[in-house]
């Protein structure tokens, strides 16, 4: 009985990964573009990189896609003309606008972004990461996820590129996929936060608290980074879907490729 559920869970996990793959592929394309231009000799300066970022961010935000924010954030000290640098564009009512940032560390409003999840996790693991969902109170007041992936010159990470996406748009595409299973299924992020769930009692945004869940999610994260990170900087094309962990209470946790999301099937 549990074998059947697990089997279905793996298939559903693969379909969740596929659904998000469109956004991932877009971000990978941006990363490839920035890496290629840098390899061709583009200067490691904000002045040189910003137009390249703008060239992919503007069309992505103008088109009717899931994406509501897009940009590049530099590793501190890597750019010769800016110690700290963010080049991020946001969808706005009057067209895309550039996010105004404080890049001067002596300014009281400055904050070190290297401690934050959307920077810290992908830079440490070497692979893309999905942060959120969270309420984006600075820009849209909407419920958002942010996906970020490292940009390299040779072996060294020089920054990240990424995108913001609306959760309700994502949910519209993901919930039918989850419903294909016969059991109560929740899609959670690496912190155990529910992105969407078939059970009406499991609200998006709540933290799923089950015995052993946070340990199981932490374990899937370690597997991801040891499998895919330093060994192959060109990144595995095929996400390793299907690590299944059974919790003490009987629920199965299935990783969804390298989305950093997991299914919890009860």
């Amino acid at each position: 009985m549990s074998t059947v559920a697990t089997h279905r869970g793996v298939a559903i996990a693969a379909r969740v990964a596929e659904t998000i793959d469109g956004v991932f592929a877009t971000i990978d394309g941006w990363r490839d573009l920035v890496e290629r231009r840098l390899a061709e000799g583009l200067a490691l300066t904000a002045d040189a990189i910003d137009p390249v970022v703008e060239s992919f961010a503007m069309p992505a935000l103008a088109a009717d896609t899931l994406i509501t924010g897009s940009g590049f954030v530099a590793a501190p000290g890597v750019l010769t003309d800016a110690e700290w640098h963010l080049a991020w564009w946001l969808r706005g009512a009057g067209g895309p606008t550039r996010l105004a940032t404080i890049d001067d560390p002596s300014d009281e409003q400055f904050r070190d972004y290297t401690a934050l999840e959307w920077w810290r996790v992908p830079v440490r693991s070497g692979v893309r990461h999905l942060t959120g969902p969270y309420v984006d109170y600075v820009c849209t007041d909407d419920y958002t996820v942010t996906i970020t992936t490292p940009v390299r010159v040779g072996e060294a990470i020089v920054g990240i590129v990424g995108a913001d996406a609306l959760v309700d748009r994502l949910e519209r595409e993901l919930l039918p996929v989850l419903r294909a299973g016969s059991r109560d299924t929740a899609l959670v992020n690496a912190s155990g936060r529910v992105v969407t769930a078939t059970d009406a009692g499991r609200e998006p945004g709540s933290i799923l608290r089950l015995d052993g869940l946070s340990e199981a999610l932490a374990a899937t994260r370690e597997v991801r980074s040891s499998q895919e990170a330093p060994a192959d900087p060109s990144r595995a094309e095929e996400p390793a879907t299907g690590g299944v962990v059974t919790l003490p209470g009987g629920a199965a946790v299935v990783t969804c490729g390298d989305t950093s999301l997991s299914l919890v099937i009860q």
Binding site: G69, L86, W88, G94, L99, A100, T101, I102, E108, Q109, R111, D112, Y113, A115, L116, E117, W118, T131, G132, P133, Y134, V135, D136, Y137, V138, C139, D141, D142, Y143, T144, T146, D164, S191, G192, R193, P204, G205, S206, I207
Partner: protein, 263 residues
């Protein structure tokens, strides 16, 4: 992006969030005046241009211009022409203090009570929900805000209160609570947190943050709510006390005026 991204300062974002309803110049003027007087916008700081203001506040260009003119007349901003030109904040502690007292004088005790209830309902519920929905990263960003709070000035203490409450609202995962928190902070924050002019209240606010963080960490929603509302109530009680003093001072003044023939 986000909460917890650190890409933009939240206390500032509140100041330039869209205005409700008809975009009247007085509303713009009040919002910016409050921000200057309470120290969210600093002396010498350059304000966004008229067109930037009209866009971010969602008002007509002429309205933004009118508001800036009004503030110029009050001596709150100074305009410089030329390449490095623009409108700059000019802050004078004494006149700022008088302005806030005048603002306090406009509100009755009943209005102040109502305001504190409303602010407490939103912030208290946000804290309660956040206690069930906080991840380790969320807790960490609350701790960062608490550690970086500048308690040496009223403005610094105000910014810390503003950022912390906004972050708690964001952790509740409710876009509506976040929007309402932003709206209330812009409308009433500077008035409600007048008590932060006193060191004792700055320390109380730091203590309240520690209590809320501990309650969220231990997943104790009721305690998180209670600590939040107790903090807001103490700010309100300070205001009422101050309001009564102002009243008393006003009556003394009146009774000393010979032209005033009332009994």
């Amino acid at each position: 992006m986000p909460h917890a991204t650190g890409r933009v300062d939240a206390a500032r974002a509140v100041v330039f969030a869209p205005l409700d309803g008809a975009g009247r110049a007085e509303l713009v003027e009040q919002r910016l005046t409050d921000a200057i007087v309470s120290g969210v916008l600093r002396d010498g700081e350059r304000l966004p241009s008229e067109s930037e203001l009209s866009r971010s506040l969602g008002v007509a260009l002429v309205t933004a211009r009118e508001a800036l003119e009004g503030m110029r007349d009050k001596g709150l901003v100074r305009t410089r022409r030329g390449r490095d030109g623009g409108s700059f904040v000019t802050f004078d502690r004494d006149s700022a203090g008088r302005m806030l007292e005048a603002r306090l004088g406009e509100h009755s005790r009943i209005e102040l009570r109502d305001l504190a209830l409303h602010v407490g309902a939103i912030a208290g519920t946000a804290a309660e929900v956040a206690a069930g929905r906080s991840s380790d990263d969320d807790l960490e960003s609350l701790r960062t805000i608490a550690e970086h709070a500048d308690l040496t000035t009223a403005g610094g203490a105000r910014r810390a209160v503003s950022r912390f409450q906004l972050e708690v609202a964001a952790i509740s995962q409710s876009p509506r609570l976040v929007r309402e928190e932003i709206r209330l902070q812009a409308e009433a924050g500077p008035l409600l947190w007048l008590c932060l002019r006193e060191q004792e209240y700055r320390e109380r606010s730091a203590h309240a943050r520690e209590q809320v963080i501990a309650a969220i960490r231990d997943v104790r929603p009721e305690t998180a709510r209670e600590a939040t509302i107790t903090h807001i109530t103490s700010a309100f009680e300070w205001l009422v006390h101050e309001r009564l003093e102002l009243d008393a001072a006003g009556r003394d003044e009146a009774s000393r005026t010979p032209e005033d023939g009332s009994a």
